[in-house]
Symmetry: C2
Subunit: 554 residues, 2 copies
């Protein structure tokens, strides 16, 4: 590292130590504020201008030399126009060679300096949160505010969490121990050193809906533990993570470290490189977010350490409620947010035919419960102040699949026609609701990605739980909402769902949303069911990226 | 748990806390003394009598009901006579059902009480260390003193290490947090609970040479993290672990817990059950010690968390030495101990044709270096005071393989004929040395299990390192001895070997032996090369046995 009067580690030491503490205390902790107003006054305007400057140009900020071509096919779901940004494309062997080279440079940096540098990269990213927000909006189709929060502060928080837990794990054992074993009148003396050896080159495969949030935890976890990273973004959502990587590369160079320690490896839909990269023998670690079948391929690869987040089917079990209207209002928002394109979004609503008991002793019939959800979802979509939360549909195929899903049951709510308030060509679609009986398992046993939810009429809560449990076990689940005002029963149901490694959110109403997993507090995905084999950020997420090794010297 | 005036957790709390500290400090720490003299005066005599009582009888101490048959084929490598002990045999489905049942009982025990109980089980095992020593001697063929140390105190130390690190990891996050997120003038309040959910039923597959030492870490790691365990011992080495399991079952029953939380599942050579057990969908965790091909099968199973220790090829790189005679004396002991049947034993000696420089400036020629090793190994085998360390050959096939190995190169030392001082029918065999050129890779690229080592004549140290590194990477290595008095070069070679995840023991002479991995200080196997994918006991060894899960309640 170059000499500076104060090292980046010293600069960020307090922040790092706070973050380490926070990963263990799990109280609210958010080093990067999620409110746009916490940032300088002109941030929005400047961010928009910076975003606009990228359009219809090659992205020239990366420090990666000798591309074999340019590639880029991003398109805004808000304007349905191409962004026209071209990124340097590289051959797989080229990427691997550069990563191999960079590994040497990165291995010379101490854990302290790695942590300091990686935190500094988040500070620099912070200056571009608003630009990243526009980049996210016009690639993922999220609303602007969600783009800002998810791709900016929330992603940076998650990266900070990975750095902090990584630092903690790497410093867990002493560097050097004088080991003395008593042997009667004498003793054996051995000097022992402990090292965390990085596993090798890490591949991080991004998704089209959360290009920074879903990629940065694995990327930073691999980097802090010493592994160079090749990040292959989704061809339709490159810019947000390209900005993050460009900042990191510039910082690495400033510090005299090989900028190829992190490489962006964009590909095109016509020639995807994920398989070739993943199968390369030098790739030892793979982080993946995306569909289940490719995820299972990644998990099946021999000799790789894989961290996956795949599809799941999230259940809402409604047994009883303090006030069912508030439940349905909350759920309408959860299901509508980003048009159901969040991995944490609810999909299946299990409602017993016997109705829902409320705290005041009244009973809401099954039909009335269905009507409540329908009305709340319809009015949200039609309310100009709320409809923005829907954002747009990232991929036209999603709309197609939602249309097909309507054939699976009785259509209770058929996507009300809506228009985006600001973008007339926006690919918007209000949510639909279909209704099926419990025995129509085919209708609700797959992830229906996008704006459609299923109401499943069950005999009773017992059946609801049994079905939700089976689905989580066989198809995976990232979240499970439970509404139950009988504390003992709620505990029992929670235990049942926990047995299949689905976490339960109980009686969420108001501003508590099941979709939201907070860094430093909520583990995102448990890793225990088919929705994914990894978790942001539990200790295993860090430790599997390196090998503990002890050398001894007599 | 039954009420007692003082819980087992309270009784053992201080010991537990000390052990947790020790797993992190990595100084010398051995809660169970390795010297027989540290135990009551009549221990040896009583242990022998207790062992003799088992012979030619059914083993009746287990609390497992309704066996389908009896099985047992142990034979003493010292007497070459059958022990005649018969163990209850169970069908796979029966074992699984009982484990499933026991899981409920074990899940009701708090982490504290689990730790207290498991430590108490080691205290009870301690009372039977001498009996276990005889049981180990007459199944594995180890010398009595090695049997005592490896199967008694060293195994208990390793189990304690697993309990301690397990306890630490399980208590790592708070049980309950009141999470409050500020939202302008209001805040969101969510109660969060964190739980470590055990993965399921654990299978532990033992080996014939270290029936307690290699099995107890995985067994105790699974138990402390809440998983019931089915232990399938090697059919030729059951008694040592049967005694440990019997003590644990009795203790579980005393405490009102289902004794099937730990089950012994002996099988016979004629009808092995490891595959059927391993493939059973209810088995979620597998600990395995043994041959590479079965280990690779275990690692390849879908949906299982596997911890393996397989075969490896351990190298000794000799570049230079303070005094080569002391090096070769030390190495002769390392290679001879238990006749090379330790997974940590050296196999390949890389010696440069240019000779070995010594600290006084003198040069030992290649031929003289070879002669030194030969003489030290021959005189150890022929020295009545030392030869006992060889123990016996566990499996007659090992002798056969050693004979075949002699055809691989020039025989430098052909196993001197020896007789055991005490047991006239003992299956003893002194070590042999063969010598090959560096280009005869076939001769030294496989594990030659048993009393045979290979000297490889290399051009220079660079070639020695290159070959040792390649072998560790492709075939695996658990240890690597390096002799080098040039500190800078020693660091470079260490780094090279570390890159393939082989730990280096530098300049070990006297009583420091590369074979010995001490609990609480040395990681046993790194998990990074083909010798195994797991490590006693790093944090990963614990964490992969359970899933962190957070429930939320508004």
């Amino acid at each position: 590292m170059s000499d500076t009067s104060k090292s980046l580690f010293q600069t960020h030491r307090e922040k790092l130590e706070q973050a380490v503490k926070a990963t263990h205390q799990r109280h609210f902790y958010a080093p990067y504020p999620e409110h746009p107003k916490a940032y300088p006054p002109d941030s929005t305007k400047d961010g928009k201008a910076a975003f606009d400057k990228h359009l219809q140009k090659p992205f020239a900020e990366l420090l990666q030399q000798d591309p074999s071509a340019l590639t880029g096919e991003e398109e805004s779901p808000f304007t349905q126009e191409e962004l026209g940004i071209k990124y340097p494309r590289f051959e797989v062997e080229q990427l691997i060679n550069k990563a191999r080279q960079a590994a040497k440079s990165w291995s010379k940096v101490s854990t302290e300096d790695k942590a300091g540098l990686l935190i500094e990269s988040l500070e620099r990213m912070k200056k571009r949160f608003f630009e990243i927000a526009y980049a996210t909006q016009h690639t993922t189709g999220q609303s602007w505010i969600m783009s800002f929060q998810a791709s900016g502060p929330h992603a940076a928080d998650r990266a900070m969490e990975a750095i902090a837990l990584g630092y903690h794990e790497l410093k867990r054992f002493p560097d050097l121990v004088d080991w003395a074993k008593p042997m009667g009148r004498t003793e054996i003396n051995i000097q022992k050193t402990y090292k965390a050896i990085p596993k090798g080159i890490a591949l991080c495969i991004g998704c089209s809906t959360f290009p920074t949030w879903n990629s940065m935890p694995g990327m930073y976890a691999s980097l802090i533990t010493g592994n160079p990273v090749i990040l292959k973004p989704h061809p339709r959502a490159i810019l947000p993570i390209a900005i993050v990587i460009a900042e990191l590369q510039k910082l690495l160079k400033e510090q005299g470290i090989d900028p190829n320690t992190i490489q962006l490896a964009p590909d095109s839909s016509a020639k995807l490189i994920a398989v070739e990269l993943a199968e390369h023998p030098d790739i030892k670690i793979i982080d993946y977010t995306g569909g289940s079948s490719f995820g299972e391929f990644i998990e099946s690869l021999n000799g790789k350490t894989a961290f996956t987040e795949k599809a799941g089917v999230n259940s809402v079990i409604i047994d009883s409620a303090a006030d069912l209207r508030l439940v349905m209002r909350n759920q309408a928002f959860c299901a509508s947010l980003y048009s159901g394109q969040m991995c944490t979004a609810p999909q299946n609503y299990f409602i017993p035919e016997t109705g829902i008991k409320q705290a005041d002793g009244s009973l809401v019939s099954y039909a009335d419960a269905v009507a409540l959800l329908k009305n709340e979802m319809a009015s949200l979509a039609l309310n100009p102040k709320m409809a923005g939360a829907l954002g747009t549909i990232q991929n036209p195929l999603t709309q197609h699949r939602v249309e097909q899903a309507k054939a699976l049951g009785t259509v209770v709510l058929d996507a009300p026609k809506i228009k985006h308030a600001q973008f007339e060509h926006a690919r918007v679609q209000a949510p639909s609701i279909i209704e099926v009986d419990a025995d129509q398992a085919d209708a609700y046993s797959q992830e229906l990605f996008g704006p459609v939810v299923v109401i499943i009429k069950t005999k009773n809560t017992e059946e609801s739980v049994q079905l939700a449990r089976k689905l989580a076990q066989e198809k995976g689940a990232i979240t499970c909402s439970l509404y139950c005002i009988d504390a003992k029963l709620a505990r029992q149901i929670t235990d049942e769902m926990n047995k299949v490694f689905a976490p339960v959110s109980l009686n969420f109403t108001g501003f508590a949303f099941v979709n939201q997993h907070a860094a430093f507090s909520d583990f995102h995905v448990t890793g225990g069911n088919p929705a994914g084999n990894a978790s942001f950020t539990n200790p295993e997420y860090i430790q599997k990226r390196f090998v503990w090794l002890g050398n001894r010297s007599a």
